[in-house]
């Protein structure tokens, strides 16, 4: 964990001035495992690590939940998957990838054995149900972060859409 990127200026008398931001503006350094995962998202590639029991972890586990050993084997998974559970967010907050009402969901991506938490752009809770098929919608400007997946959308609705 490192400090924030505070911008400062040196004024005429030689003293430093900097803005005061009342928050924890931490930036985190990701290790080799999450770095590979997040870099993959930038390139529209989703992959996970393979545990000692053969389970594919997406997002990747750095260490095996069973043995504690560092995980080094990777497996690609699809950008499509199935809704495992969902909830409705009627009032998006600052930082959400969507700024209109949307669903939160745990999604089992095809080829993964764990669930990924993300947003679903569904329009209304009435059309949603567990078990529905979804596919990733990629962000227009990737940044190497989890929000490079802007959200997921219902697969039948996404047919023919540019993605």
């Amino acid at each position: 964990m490192s400090g924030g990127t505070t911008e400062y200026t040196i004024v005429e008398d030689g003293s430093f001035t900097a803005p005061l931001e009342l928050s924890y503006p931490y930036k985190r350094t990701v290790g080799p495992v999450l770095s590979r995962f997040l870099t993959g998202l930038r390139d529209h590639r989703i992959e996970g690590t393979v545990g000692s029991d053969g389970r594919v972890h997406v997002p990747p586990a750095e260490f095996d939940p069973v043995t504690g050993a560092a995980l080094t084997e990777w497996a690609p998974v699809a950008s499509t998957g199935t809704i495992v559970t969902w909830s409705w967010q009627p009032s998006p907050v600052e930082g959400n990838t969507l700024q209109h009402p949307f669903a939160w969901a745990l999604i089992a991506l095809d080829g993964a054995d764990t669930n990924l938490l993300h947003a679903i752009d569904a329009g209304s809770p009435e059309v949603l149900s567990t078990g529905m098929r979804v596919q990733a919608r990629w962000a227009a400007e990737p940044s190497g972060s989890i929000s490079d997946i802007e959200c997921f959308e219902l697969a039948e609705r996404a047919t023919g859409a540019a993605s």
């Binding site: 009342l22 985190r28 972890h57 997406v58 495992v84 764990t114 938490l117 567990t130 989890i146």
Partner: protein
């Protein structure tokens, strides 16, 4: 092992908002618990505090709390970045070392300093979950739906939990939310984070709880009927929501087993389950049956003061022993999304 008991407690009346500073909130409660125990400040061997810098938005904010204790002559003091119940666990261990015989434990938090549902986002995985900014209710709602759809809870059972806790809170002067509701009324209410309704969600509050624990004969000399800690255990689950059970609480079950919950009947259980479906999961994980009265205080649904709601459960469970209305009670504290951490304490009268 040394026998250790809770011998006194005090709470602030939970408030939706307060203008008092953390120190101003602490002073009357710390003074009250000392008075309730009939012990002098100088006779406290160890002070242990639970609070969270993220609540105040200020690093090392807990240091100022020492102003409420009085640190001259020097005191032995510690802090956990957690609910005060976890500070009690540390104090219990401190007494086990034999260095001290008494400890004053306290937890405090002002939930109203910011948007609490957003502050709680900061306890999530900071790499692949936190950056999406899911709020606390949305995360709980994911678990609730999984429980509903798998059949381990029903909407009616959740409404019954809300009804019972809000009814019980009528007789709890410290509660923030209370009242009588019908099942029909509760089930007809609007969903705030589908499938959750407002009264399925905790009443976040500004609050303080303080407890004094003491060893052996010191406890017997300070209280008529100390609440003896017969078992205490803390278990944690993975931070990875996508690789956790949504319908069971293995950490709570493990803590209950280690604390010896099942070795005899529990008269009263005070559970720190912030959401209605979580109380149902927890009751099942702890192995509690019909003979146990759950949350006579109204629980965290009716007042969830961050960083002291768990310690308040311990205080309530101990009070039933000390007033003679129960012989064996359970205090529980939780922390993290989907009750990731569980601390279980079994209390008995002599």
């Amino acid at each position: 092992m040394r026998d250790v008991a809770i011998i006194a407690s005090a709470q602030a009346i939970n408030a939706a908002t307060t203008t008092a500073t953390p120190v101003e909130m602490l002073i009357p409660v710390v003074n009250q618990v000392l008075e309730n125990a009939g012990i002098a400040r100088a006779d406290i061997g160890f002070w242990c505090h639970g609070s969270c810098d993220y609540m105040t938005g200020q690093p090392f904010s807990f240091v100022s709390a020492v102003d409420a204790l009085g640190a001259w002559p020097p005191i032995i003091e510690s802090h956990v970045e957690a609910d005060g119940a976890f500070a009690l666990y540390e104090a219990w261990i401190k007494i086990q070392t034999g260095e001290v015989d008494t400890a004053l434990v306290f937890g405090n938090g002002r939930s109203s300093s910011g948007d609490i549902n957003r502050i709680l986002t900061l306890q999530l995985d900071p790499y692949v979950v936190g950056p999406l900014w899911p709020d606390d209710r949305s995360i709980a709602a994911l678990q609730a739906r999984a429980c509903l759809e798998s059949g381990v809870v029903t909407e009616r059972a959740m409404a019954e939990v809300a009804m019972r806790n809000h009814h019980n809170a009528i007789s709890n002067p410290y509660a923030l939310r209370r009242g009588d509701h019908t099942i029909d009324e509760l089930m007809a209410a609007a969903r705030v984070a589908d499938p959750l309704r407002e009264l399925d969600c905790p009443a976040h509050a500004d609050g303080v709880t303080a407890v004094i624990i003491a060893a052996g004969d010191r406890a017997r000399s300070l209280a008529k009927r100390p609440a003896w800690i017969r078992g205490i255990d803390h278990r944690i689950e993975s931070q990875n929501l996508g690789n956790r059970s949504m319908t069971t609480l293995p950490s709570a079950a493990a803590a209950a087993h280690k604390a010896g919950v099942g070795s005899d009947k529990i008269d009263v259980a005070e559970l720190h389950a912030p959401y209605t479906h979580q109380e149902l999961l927890l009751t099942s994980a702890l192995g509690l049956g019909e003979s146990t009265s759950i949350n006579p205080s109204g629980g965290a649904l009716c007042a969830n003061p961050m960083m002291s709601a768990g310690l308040a459960r311990f205080a309530e469970a101990a009070a039933r022993i000390m007033n003679g209305s129960a012989d064996r009670t359970l205090g529980h504290a939780s922390s993290g999304p989907w009750m990731q951490q569980n601390l279980v304490c079994v209390l008995e009268g002599e």
